[in-house]
Every structure is written in C-alpha cells, then in structure tokens.
C-alpha cells in the first residue's frame, strides 16, 4: 500500500535526523582519536620540559614531529582519503607555523609564555568550532583555555607539571568523552 503524504514526509524527516546524528557520531569518533593522541603529545612534551628545561626546543621538535606522524597514520588507518589526510597535515602544520611566527614577533618571551600559545590557540579553535558545529567542542575549548590560564596566572611554581595535566589530561579525557557518545 502506498504511504500517505504525511507518512512520506515523516520518513524523510527521520532520514535527515539520522543523517545528522550519524555525521555527528562519526565526527566525534574521528576527533576523539586525535584528541587522545595530541593529549599524549602535550603530556609527554610538558613532562619532558619539566625535567629537561635546557632542551626545550629539542623536546618539542621531537614530540610534535611524532604527533604529526602518528596523527597522519591514525587518519590513514581510519580509512580517510589521501586528500583529507593532506588537509589534516596542512591544518596541523599551519597551527605550528602560526605559533612559531608568534614566538618570532613577540621575542623575547619566557618559556611559560611561549607554552601558553599553542593550548590557547587550540582552545579558541575548539570554542569557535563548537559554536558553529557541535556543542561538546565548546566545552572542551573552554575547559582547556580556563585550566591553562589558571596555571599561568596562579600556579607558575608548578607550571610545567600543571600544564602536563591541564593540557594533556584535558585533551585525553575529552577524547574519551567524545568516544562515550
């Protein structure tokens, strides 16, 4: 029997709802792996910085290179097309270049000031992305930005361990939160 116009309209609406939900689900899933990965990168970077302050540049060159390589590998293994993997690499490299350029413009800056640039920029990007797309990203951005600022403004004596937990820990927990959806 032929469905009525109301039934047909409802079925099409249901399809749209599921399409939107599935897109959100896949988006959060893909983002969760990257959040956990970059959380581990920040955790390693800030922990190593706490131990080897004099080798700061070497530490961050190594951990960001590892993050970039592993991030591309994760994207490849999740079945994304080559063009999307290149886009991912371009986005991460743009963020890294932006942070490097800020260092040059504002030099000399303290190591603590320099360490705030990346997390605050990432926090801002997530807040904007959340406003435009999905609310969980705004919560992640606000938490990350707030905790990093607290560390810089009030906890300078324990800045590096605090940043390892506040930045790395927030990103890892956020990744697990998105996965639990």
């Amino acid at each position: 029997m032929l469905p009525t116009a109301e039934e047909a309209a409802k079925a099409l609406r249901d399809i749209d709802v599921i399409k939107h939900r599935a897109a959100g689900f896949q988006d959060y899933r893909a983002e969760s792996s990257q959040l956990i990965l970059w959380g581990l990168v920040y955790l390693a970077g800030f922990s190593l910085t706490a131990c080897f302050r004099e080798h700061l540049l070497l530490v961050w060159t190594l951990v960001t290179s590892a993050g970039l390589g592993l991030g591309a590998l994760l994207a490849y293994r999740s079945g994304l097309s080559v063009s999307i993997i290149w886009r991912y690499l371009a986005i991460v490299i743009t963020i890294l270049v932006f942070i490097a350029v800020l260092h040059v413009i504002f030099w000399p800056i303290t190591a603590e000031q320099g360490a705030m640039l990346g997390p605050l920029f990432v926090a801002t990007l997530y807040i904007l992305r959340g406003i435009q797309l999905r609310p969980r990203y705004t919560a992640i951005g606000c938490t990350l930005g707030f905790l990093c600022l607290v560390g810089y403004l009030f906890l300078l004596p324990v800045f590096w361990p605090w940043m390892a937990m506040a930045c790395g820990g927030t990103l890892i927990l956020s990744g697990l939160w998105l996965r639990s959806r």
Binding site: L2, A5, A8, A22, R29
Partner: protein, 101 residues
C-alpha cells in the same frame, strides 16, 4: 507511482539503512555505534538487521578484537540502490502534482 520498499519502510529498519547510507562504499559500522545512532535495543536492532541481511541489503561480519567479540555492519550495493529508490519513491509521493490528487 512506485511503491516504497516494504522492507525498508519500517521505522527501525529505515533508521538502520539511513545510518549505513552515510558511510562510504565498503565501510563498516560497529554494532554498538549503530545502536547508539538508531537508539534501539540490542535485541530489536539484531532482529531488524537479520531481516535486512536476508533481503541482501546489509552484510554482517562477526570477529574478535583480542578476546572481545565485535559485530560490524555494512550496506551492500543492493541495499544502497534500494535505499536510493526508496527515497525517490517518498519524494515522488510528496511531489506537487501527486499531492493535488
């Protein structure tokens, strides 16, 4: 006017097909992920997947990740074509000329 596919024209099966149709060709979705998207119970989802599998619209693959069992679902080519025809049939019902009848 073409009658919409009766197998797909069931709320839960429609949601399953719509969710799987968002994936690329040959991409698999885990049962737990599908359950979360469709918002159905394990038993209900399993029963409807069996119906869709019998019709040749979906493929179901069961394997293990370590010792943990995993079930994955994929839309078959026939399923994708049937879903496309189903949506076209719904749109035809809502076409201005048909609404006047």
């Amino acid at each position: 006017m073409q009658t919409p596919d009766e197998i797909i024209h069931q709320p839960v099966r429609l949601k399953i097909m719509a969710a799987l149709n968002t994936l690329g060709s040959g991409q698999w979705l885990e049962f737990v992920a599908l359950r979360s998207i469709v918002q159905a119970t394990d038993g209900n989802l399993g029963a409807h997947l069996t119906t869709l599998e019998s019709a040749g619209y979906v493929a179901v693959k069961k394997d293990f990740i370590g010792k943990k069992p995993r079930t994955r679902v994929c839309l078959s080519r026939a399923g994708r074509e049937a879903f496309g025809r189903y949506v076209t049939a719904l749109q035809a019902i809502l076409a201005p000329g048909n609404l006047d009848d």
